[in-house]
Symmetry: C2
Subunit: 222 residues, 2 copies
């Protein structure tokens, strides 16, 4: 029976009717809400089915496993982040303004999509580059789009003289992404000892752009 459902799911995915695609997207979004509320490990497919007012057998017509659901959710969130980074790159404004928006929106995204983007950073991100599964290839392409957008912003800032550094735009981009991505090791959403994501994102943007050091000799009159 499971394999019967598997065949029907594969056929429906291949056919890609509007109704099937739409319902499947609803299921992925509902699963994301349940993961956000109850954690990834603490959520079963039965609970996701229940939150949609359906049963597991019906769910299996749309989604093969919890891992498949995780992959879809992560891809949707990462793709939204890449689109956002590209929109920031293509917007008006200085590189300084763009990097501030990029850093704060990436940190907000990690809080919004908590905890599954962090699970992905910890468990999968280092393996998708060069990975052969369709999902790994898609993720690798999405990551490259994100990297390319931030590198382009840093490069254009160096070229127009609004940014300065002694290394390449790529090393700077890796440093900025690393600083924000490293939050997966320590940021726990909802923990009262944690600052909120906005505070973290803003402070990191300010550190990266204006530096922590207070100028010792301020210009007169400023």
């Amino acid at each position: 029976m499971a394999s019967g459902i598997g065949r029907r799911r594969a056929a429906a995915l291949a056919e890609g009717s509007a109704a099937y695609t739409e319902r499947r997207a609803e299921i992925v979004a509902a699963a994301a809400r349940v993961f956000r509320k109850n954690g990834f490990n603490g959520t079963s497919l039965a609970e996701i089915a229940e939150s949609l007012g359906t049963d597991r057998a019906t769910l299996y017509y749309y989604i093969g496993s919890k891992d498949e659901l995780f992959h879809e959710i992560v891809r949707d969130a990462a793709e939204a982040n890449a689109l956002q980074a590209e929109a920031i790159r293509d917007s008006a404004g200085t590189a300084t303004v763009k990097l501030t928006r990029l850093i704060t929106s990436l940190m907000s995204s990690y809080a919004e999509h908590y905890p599954y983007l962090f699970v992905y950073i910890q468990e999968d991100l280092s393996k998708v580059s060069g990975g052969r599964s369709p999902w790994a290839r898609q993720m690798s392409a999405i990551n490259k789009r994100y990297d390319d957008a931030i590198i382009a912003i840093v490069k254009s800032g160096i070229e127009d003289g609004t940014l300065r550094t002694t290394t390449s735009a790529r090393v700077i981009a890796n440093g900025i992404i690393g600083m924000v991505n490293w939050t997966h090791r320590w940021y726990r959403k909802g923990d009262p000892s944690m600052p909120d994501a906005n505070e973290i994102g803003s402070a990191y943007a300010q550190m990266v752009l204006n530096g922590l050091a207070v100028e010792t000799a301020a210009p007169a009159g400023s």
Copy 2:
């Protein structure tokens, strides 16, 4: 026989004679050199024994497994980094000077101890906190010493007015450590497309302290 050697090793470790301890430290240092040259996965205990002019049976009298060797090497390197961070914290100079030294020396350490500190960051670092093995407890304590040293430097800079931020010293410390630690995902020592570790460390220190943004209104005469 393996278990006979295991018992003799345990007895020798417990006794802790100067000769045994010294020879064991020599073996750990030699293994670190072989790992640096041939990579961790590409190195067998037989090759380590060979580099010391001894055989595997003799090596087993000092070291139980490749994992044990890895744990020793990582602990020695991480402890040296914690000592270095504490020495920087306790040195004369401004917080700005201290953070620059700390960032550049951490990046140098990752290059010097390449690749095993990176293997540790990827595979073990997130698990040692709360881990119950003697090694996990030791590593957790070493990590806390490192964190405490950098937090103390940032705090003292905020207090004496040489540093400014809109968030806590801990969040800033996490950001700095994260930026440098994230190099484990992209820095490949010896790859000709990579800048060297000094360039990366200096550029990150400069970004964190002085910022990427060029002041738009420079004071006259500067």
